[in-house]
Amino acid sequence: MAANTFSGNGSFPFWREPLDAQQIPHLSTSITIFPDLCKGCGYCVEFCPAQVLATSDRLNAKGYHPPEVVKPEACTGCQFCMRVCPEYAIIVEKKLEVPT
């Protein structure tokens, strides 16, 4: 993830990778969704500050459209979706990864 963030492939042509990019710890988040717990209220999709989630097209066992992760790289680990989910169907784990 660090390599992508600091890579020279961005739109800014003179961007270079910071010299200490490999020493700086960075936040790593992982989003787990349990689709079968979802009741389709849509709070996680609506109130994610980074629009990481979107309503998916498929149906779960109860007949609701569970959310899916569409922009995982935008997740800041704020855990708002996890806290605002009334069914406890989303887990956001964050940890600080120190490059080796």
Binding site: T32, F34, D36, C41, F47, F80, R83, Y88
Partner: protein, 288 residues
């Protein structure tokens, strides 16, 4: 940064250890905010590090009354309106327990209204979390004492002619030492507020404004819970320290949230301890 699909045992939700998972999924409707309020409470207990066996949750009847059945603490599901008397007795008998009353507006304010104000007057060491959804949701959306003026319910099809309680003003006037109101959209504020309330000695009261898409949203043409939450986002106004008199809720108007009262007053248990110490026969413990 990865996206995992379903591997239920691999990661565990932080609330799982406080939930009776065999009872889940809960009965609350899609879009109901009680699950969010319960989660905020569980997160508050988790972050304060209170031992699980030292927490007792008492609920009354109603949608919010189901909370006692879902949390993995010592919990009791009382008769209608009576969680506060039960919790009062529990707290006096077992002062080391953290006793939380988790119930709805219809249970705490209408049927248990007298118990609420008298517990606040005594300043008994309880934390009361009142989920306010503006109607009696479980029985079919009838008008209650918190239904806003002019709001439609199944029993007020032409609009409610009565005026609702202003809950923070009511309990603050009765003597509560900690009074706050949040909507379920303010999850993090709510969690921090519950943490503060759990640490206070004395009667602390938190009103949680919650969407009720079936009981309140449908007759009032609000729509789903999402519309109600959008309304909270646009109309909620955080005013900490506001006099509770000015914190009245009205129908489809701004929602004032915040911490309104936070003061110190001897709690009932402190008074009781002093009384026992003074009354003991040992002259070294006698005061005055």
């Amino acid at each position: 940064m990865g996206t995992q699909t379903v591997t239920p045992q691999a990661v565990q939700h932080p609330y799982t250890r406080y939930l009776r998972t065999d009872r889940l999924p809960h009965i609350w409707c899609p879009g109901c905010g009680i699950g969010i309020a319960m989660g905020a409470f569980l997160a508050a207990v988790d972050e304060l590090g209170i031992p699980q066996e030292k927490v007792a949750v008492v609920s009354g009847i109603g949608c919010t009354g189901r909370v006692a059945g879902y949390v993995k603490f010592d919990s009791y599901h009382t008769t209608h309106g009576r969680p506060i008397p039960f919790a009062t007795g529990l707290k006096i008998a077992r002062p080391e327990m953290t006793v939380v009353v988790f119930s709805g507006d219809g249970d705490l304010v209408s049927i248990g209204g007298n118990h609420l104000i008298h517990a606040a007057r005594r300043n008994i060491d309880l934390t009361v979390i009142c989920v306010n959804n503006f109607n009696y949701g479980m029985t079919g959306g009838q008008m209650g004492p918190t239904t806003p003026h002019r709001a439609r319910t199944t029993t007020t099809p032409y609009g409610n002619l009565e005026f609702p309680f202003n809950l923070p003003y009511l309990v603050a006037a009765a003597g509560a030492v900690y009074v706050a109101r949040w909507t379920v959209l303010h999850v993090f504020h709510l969690r921090e507020s519950i943490k503060e309330a759990l640490q206070r000695r004395g009667f602390s009261f938190i009103e949680v404004v919650s969407p009720c898409p079936v009981g309140f949203g449908r007759p009032n043409k609000i729509g789903e819970g999402l519309e109600e939450m959008r309304f909270y986002r646009e109309h909620a106004l955080i005013q900490n320290g506001l006099h509770p008199k000015d914190a009245a809720l009205s129908f489809r108007d701004r929602i004032v949230v915040g911490k309104f009262v936070d003061e110190a007053r001897p709690s009932f248990l402190q008074v009781l301890e002093d009384h026992f110490r003074n009354a003991s026969r040992d002259p070294s413990h006698r005061e005055g």
